[in-house]
């Protein structure tokens, strides 16, 4: 079947150009990839190449012609034995590609840049456990406690240390019941001395134990950040692989409510920056349980970022013996075709809330929970963006150097041609957390902002 060759757009903004030179003549056989012509605009000259093989049946626009509109038929390719008259108008995008530059839509691969094919991982919302498994309602708090208890029963070397984890049953009651079951040797109350007990736990990990360090909140872990980064994260590398620090640092992270600047901070991006650490930030109870169990077994230091507001939230948790969730695998909570919303931790509450409301307005959002920030599941994010062509990210941390910034860069690099709008990063405001209720609410990311951003990238 004869096909028309259309004037290509060399850039998203190009409307017309000069057909500078034909490199083929009527009667020539061309193969996919052969250079057919040179196109000039006021900015550049570029070669374009054939996508399909065929015979140049007719040249419709002579070389040297100026102001040729994009998508104007400029030649007709025929198959052997066909006549030019058999040519049918076809959809423009599949015909030709500019040699060096991507065209405006995802359908026009840029030959020179090795246009990425869609990734294998398909963003699909499915229950993270097999169908038919019984579940029960459980709070994030209970899920975390169960995860620790199960792992402490499994492995005698696992122990918990931190402020008020024993007699007090945990400042946020996460370690409820653990002292009774495991005794003071494995549920160790420490003085208020984060730098000290963190370093001690690192030494215990060097010495073969599997410490879980509870920070009453991650705000206090800044006292200990030297030990977390310079000792826990780097020693395996510095020692040439001789000894690492298999341990978990866990506790609530991010804003609670009305506790002001020093107690309301999201450290996700801080720790995700560090090679040698793994960083986990669960949203649901099942993930809190499954990921904490994985963290305790991991031979590397793991930062496990919980959230005070999520502690009391109830989710379905599968009744599976030894339920674990692997690192580096995002969960798609909701499928949608219009826009991808990527979030993690408490950011998911805004993402899910916004998606619900957007659906009411006819925008179907796909919601991805990253679950772990080191490693990050890029595959699922990219697959989704290639489907929806739009992406917004939602997190509680500050805007400079945010996780969303990193994802934007990766999407730009790997799925640039698929984007129909800039990636927008929704974050907390660039201020220390104010105390006053009205200011605090405004300083956090809000559902309304997520909805607004989703509409913006959908041009609605």
């Amino acid at each position: 079947m004869a096909t028309e060759v259309l004037m290509p757009a060399l850039s998203p903004t190009m409307e017309e150009g000069t057909l500078a030179k034909w490199l083929v003549k009527e009667g020539d056989t061309v193969n996919a990839g052969d250079i057919m012509a040179e196109i000039e605009t006021d900015k550049a000259t570029m070669e374009f190449e054939a996508v399909d093989e065929g015979i140049v049946g007719k040249i419709l626009v002579a070389e040297g012609t100026e102001n040729v509109r994009v998508n104007t038929p400029i030649a007709v390719l025929v198959e052997d034995g066909e006549s030019v008259e058999d040519a049918e108008p076809t959809a423009p995008p599949q015909q030709l590609v500019a040699k060096d530059k991507a065209q405006s839509s995802e359908d026009q691969p840029a030959a020179g840049m090795a246009h990425p094919e869609p990734v294998k991982a398909i963003a699909k919302a499915e229950a993270p456990w097999p169908e038919g498994i019984k579940t029960r309602q459980m709070t994030v708090r209970e899920a975390l406690r169960d995860a620790m208890a199960e792992e402490m029963r499994r492995d005698e070397d696992v122990f918990l240390m931190g402020e008020e984890v024993g007699e007090y049953q945990g400042a946020y009651k996460i370690s409820q019941g653990l002292l009774d079951e495991f005794g003071a040797r494995r549920v160790m109350d420490t003085p208020i001395t984060e730098h000290g007990f963190t370093g001690i736990a690192v030494g215990a990990a060097f010495g073969g134990l599997r410490p879980i360090v509870e920070f009453m909140t991650f705000n206090f872990a800044m006292q200990a950040i030297d030990q977390i980064i310079n000792s826990a994260a780097k020693t395996l590398y510095m020692s040439g692989g001789q000894m690492g620090a298999p341990m978990v640092f866990r506790g609530p992270n991010g804003a609670a409510a009305r506790v002001a600047a020093q107690h309301s901070q999201d450290y996700a991006a801080w720790y995700a920056h560090i090679p040698g650490l793994k960083v986990v930030m669960p949203y649901s109870a099942s993930d809190a349980k499954g990921l904490l169990k994985t963290a305790i077994r991991d031979p590397n230091p793991v930062i496990f970022l919980e959230n005070e507001i999520l502690y009391g939230k109830t989710f379905e948790v599968p009744e599976i013996d030894d339920y674990t969730v692997p690192f580096g695998k995002a969960r798609v909570w909701r499928e949608g075709s219009d826009v991808t919303i990527v979030s993690f931790g408490i950011g998911m509450t805004y993402a899910m809330d916004a998606a619900e409301k957007l659906a009411g307005e006819g925008i179907e959002a796909e919601v991805i929970d990253l679950r772990t920030l080191r490693p990050i599941d890029y595959d699922t994010v990219l697959a989704s963006v290639q489907k929806t062509n739009r992406c917004i990210t939602v997190e509680e941390g500050w805007p400079v150097g945010a996780i969303g910034n990193h994802l934007s860069a990766i999407i730009m690099e790997r799925a640039f041609d698929y984007l129909d709008a800039p990636v927008l990063n929704l974050t907390g405001k660039d201020v220390p957390m104010p105390y006053a209720a009205n200011l605090e609410k405004h300083a956090l990311v809000t559902t309304a902002e997520v909805i607004e951003a989703a509409k913006k990238v959908c041009y609605r």
């Binding site: 070397d157 990990a205 395996l236 690492g244």
Partner: protein
């Protein structure tokens, strides 16, 4: 006198001193050895005296000035020198260097170059030892500079609170980089601080290695039995803070006086006085040590640099798949198309 340990103590100190004197030769031999080399010349009695009290299975951490301590614990000077030169045959395959030497085999839980940074790990190791009933003591070596860091007091408090088999050894060479101790602390009787936390604590003059060894043994035996201990060893840092520091902040007269406090010379004199070794014996021993340390330079010079492929190794535990660099991974995933 027949059972004297002094000849061995002397030999160990001589090995430390000669090793430290040779380190600079790496540069002469065209090797790249980093700009941060902290020598422990003048402090040999602290390293050797305390290590003489340690037993197999005991663990320790050091500060950035830790070559001598590790040597005194039995390190192979070849692999140490190779590590300092950044060679694959070094203790850490060239990825740690002078300030991060570690060796699990000899109980070295790592040199830590953040002042005070290595101290809490020994309390953790003490906790492990008790948990595992291994009977081991863990020893933190640090300088007087670290006594300004809160982490020391947090660590001493918990060691005493939990009665852990831990010993804190402060090698007081009088200087935290360029600041003399009397410029940095109002009460230079450092052991009094440890006493306040409930540790068994002493200060000993580092001039005589036998005094150091005796004090260390007494305290370490107590630590093994559950009374954590603190020992300050008074000595003098003969040279600058690091290789290029000519210590312009202290008077020559002070340095001349300080260098009289030489534990290696003192042990040598004692050996001769006691008739344990002759001048000729000692000269022969010194020559043997010099030859060994020259050999370590040759070993380091001959060693291969690490393969570039080792760059991404050991960021995470090797029992899990190697983490690919982000871009390599994306290329692979996208190529599956």
């Amino acid at each position: 006198m027949k059972n004297s340990t002094l000849p061995k103590l002397y030999e160990d100190m001589r090995r430390v001193r000669t090793f430290e004197e040779r380190v600079g030769e790496l540069f002469v031999r065209g090797q790249s050895a980093g700009s941060m080399l902290h020598l422990s010349i003048g402090e040999e009695s602290a390293a050797v005296g305390v290590c003489a009290a340690m037993q197999d299975g005991d663990t320790f951490t050091t500060h950035h000035r830790g070559h001598g301590i590790f040597l005194a614990r039995g390190a192979d000077p070849n692999r140490m020198m190779a590590e300092i030169a950044g060679k694959d045959c070094g203790y850490c395959h060239g990825k740690g260097g002078s300030m991060h030497i570690a060796d699990m085999g000899l109980g070295h839980l790592g040199a830590n170059a953040i002042v005070g940074g290595g101290i809490p790990a020994v309390v953790g190791a003490g906790l492990s030892a008790r948990h595992q009933k291994s009977g081991a003591v863990s020893v933190a070596f640090f300088g007087d500079g670290a006594t300004g860091q809160g982490i020391l007091y947090e660590s001493m408090n918990m060691a005493a609170l939990w009665k852990l088999p831990v010993m804190f050894v402060c090698i007081n060479n009088q200087y935290g980089m360029g600041t003399r101790i009397d410029q940095a602390t109002a009460n230079p009787n450092l052991h009094e601080r440890a006493e306040a936390f409930g540790l068994a604590a002493r200060t000993v003059d580092g001039l005589d290695v036998e005094d150091v060894a005796e004090a260390a043994t007494e305290l370490m035996d107590g630590a093994r039995a559950g009374t954590p201990a603190f020992l300050a060893v008074d000595c003098y840092r003969f040279y600058g803070h690091a290789r290029k520091d000519k210590s312009p902040y202290r008077a020559e007269a002070e340095e001349d006086e300080g260098r009289k406090k030489d534990p290696v010379l003192r042990a040598r004199e004692k050996l001769i006085e006691a008739g344990l070794m002759t001048e000729a014996d000692l000269d022969a021993l010194d020559a043997t040590v010099a030859k060994e340390m020259d050999g370590s330079i040759d070993f380091a010079v001959a060693g291969e640099e690490p393969q570039m492929a080792s760059m991404f190794r050991d960021v995470y535990d090797p029992s899990q798949p190697e983490p690919e660099p982000v871009r390599v991974r994306l290329d692979r995933v996208l190529a599956q198309g």
